[in-house]
Symmetry: C2
Amino acid sequence: MEKVLQGVRVLDLTRVLAGPYASMILGDLGADIIKIENPDGGDDSRGFGPFVNGESVYFISLNRNKKSLSLNLKTEEGKEIFLKLVRKADIVLENFRPGTMEKLGLGYDELEKINPGIIYAATSGFGHTGPYSQKAAYDLIVQGMGGIMSLTGDPDGPPTRVGASIGDITSGLFTTIGILAALNKRKETGKGQKVDVSMLDSQVAILENAIARFAVSGVSPKPTGNRHPSITPFAVFTASNGYVVIALGNDHLWQKWCYTVEREELAEDPRFKTNGDRTNNWDVLEPIMNEIISKREVDAWLKIFEEAGIPAGPINDVANVVEHPQVKARDMIVYQDHPVAGRIMMPGIPIKLSKNPGSIETPAPLLGEHNEFILKELGYTELEMKRLEEQGVIQNRKVVIK
Amino acid sequence: MEKVLQGVRVLDLTRVLAGPYASMILGDLGADIIKIENPDGGDDSRGFGPFVNGESVYFISLNRNKKSLSLNLKTEEGKEIFLKLVRKADIVLENFRPGTMEKLGLGYDELEKINPGIIYAATSGFGHTGPYSQKAAYDLIVQGMGGIMSLTGDPDGPPTRVGASIGDITSGLFTTIGILAALNKRKETGKGQKVDVSMLDSQVAILENAIARFAVSGVSPKPTGNRHPSITPFAVFTASNGYVVIALGNDHLWQKWCYTVEREELAEDPRFKTNGDRTNNWDVLEPIMNEIISKREVDAWLKIFEEAGIPAGPINDVANVVEHPQVKARDMIVYQDHPVAGRIMMPGIPIKLSKNPGSIETPAPLLGEHNEFILKELGYTELEMKRLEEQGVIQNRKVVIK
């Protein structure tokens, strides 16, 4: 089946997470991703653990469906090869510190001259404009600066980092959206443009109602822990062997819950009548509910609540997630054979398309694995490629299975 | 300036968060969003606080750049109006429980018959396939089920909810990507397709290296609190008046830090020589670093680290975020005048496009505000519209400024 982005070629200069996450999505949807890596070790994340047979599983899980060209962009001939690729590409994606591409003579203004249709997407810590533009950013710094940590955690505890690299990932998602919107426009105008997305901006964009709450009250929202700030009960409770999430979004569900746990008197209790009452009396209600929930195991409660039509769920760890029947039914855990690391488990594709679905076809590339394929396409001969390697312009892979 | 998605029309049936977040992005980028709301109160989030002059600021901050048509899809004439709109639309977006549109006779198969180019995007809790498809989901339930809570929080504490509705928002982002990819394909094929994105799938997709770590070790990763699981020091420290994030990604930065805080002996300490050493001896290193950091205020440290070129940052609350110079310079906090609620602060647009930038042009609509505009376009007369209102097919807005 033809892929939705088949025929779209991406020159992907990105490393580690935000950029590679964006190009992974584009590749999953069928774009041809040429990952251009420095010959001296390539993408930094090739050095991030955990490793299997010396290969980074971190790298493998983010770089499926990509081809690797190891190319030294600091050499004249490396630049020349890159520019030849730009002439035939649709998208250039980079996550260097702003200004790096300009210093190499490869900024958007230069690339646009040789290919006016090129879409140039940059994902960076703070963006290509503004006083912080040149600063280094990492996920933890951006999570701290962007407000999400001030909203996460126990109400009485310290600010808490989100346990996934949400600073990088959301930036990768917004970048992907910008690229696809620009690609769409190009079909009308023939012209590309620059897409500039920052990790910090992306954090602000996901604060959503926290900004509204601040705007109205003038007070920064505090972390609300594991409960909803204004819908009650919408929280985590402690069963005898783990946690149960219960989400009762209206009075009807609250009453149904009281009858289901056989505590009819709570349904009549004026302290808990409306959502406002329950929110105001949460300090009384929480221990009552916890005391009830503590008397059975997680699975017993989930079965009872499911039968009653009460929204509830477990708190799964990763082992539970990968075995979850719905996750499996949706192909959200996939396995892929890597030539060195062997069979590797990774997340599937969350975008399900009825006519042109995405697919995971090739494992993450070894460094420079596709040098020959790509350079041949540009018309380089075996002899020239050998010379390029000797001169350090490319670095052909040397597979060592440890 | 022409917008990147100008001329793209979206029929947006979504409520609350995941769907409205997707249509907000499309609207910010220039698509024409017709928000179709039930006449009986409209989008549920119109009832979510905080309120200003009786208008929900939660709703206002998610529904800018949209037009509102109040339409009862359960009436025959309501369906007829919807189908007339579908003939001229590009995208239908819904976040009902799977099967709802089919019950109304408005499922993708029906809509495709009258407009083969229609892109039908559904964002739901668990997706349109699989054993959990019909279950109700809320952000908290999906965060619990999808694994992110098991990775967030103190290593010795309970699982912790992410303080923004990341379950909804990431689903909205993946849905937007699916829509734009399908729109792009349609320019080649003329055919639309169905985009099916779930909140649970989206959570699995953002777990990224946690799945790799589990795959290799067979053990579910635990929350690592405010530190990086494998890069050290990459953590939050306590200054005399708040928190400082310090991110030293390599040995060189570690040594620079030791000299900057005038503790040269630490740079030579064999317990902290390499990243591996520092990670293994974190229980010794953390109190040493905290003791040093505790001696000055946040701003003093940030100035010192900035001058030394050491990656560090504050933990901002929302009040700090909206005043941050980089956030301001990037127009990530914008103000908009709402006819009832007045001037409202909201997040800006994180996708910066050089030639066809997005913009925020109109405030969130009142319920049914654009009934006349939209129905006139379809050829309805004043008299017919009056009859439609009397019969409960539409509900014209009654603005009451409280």
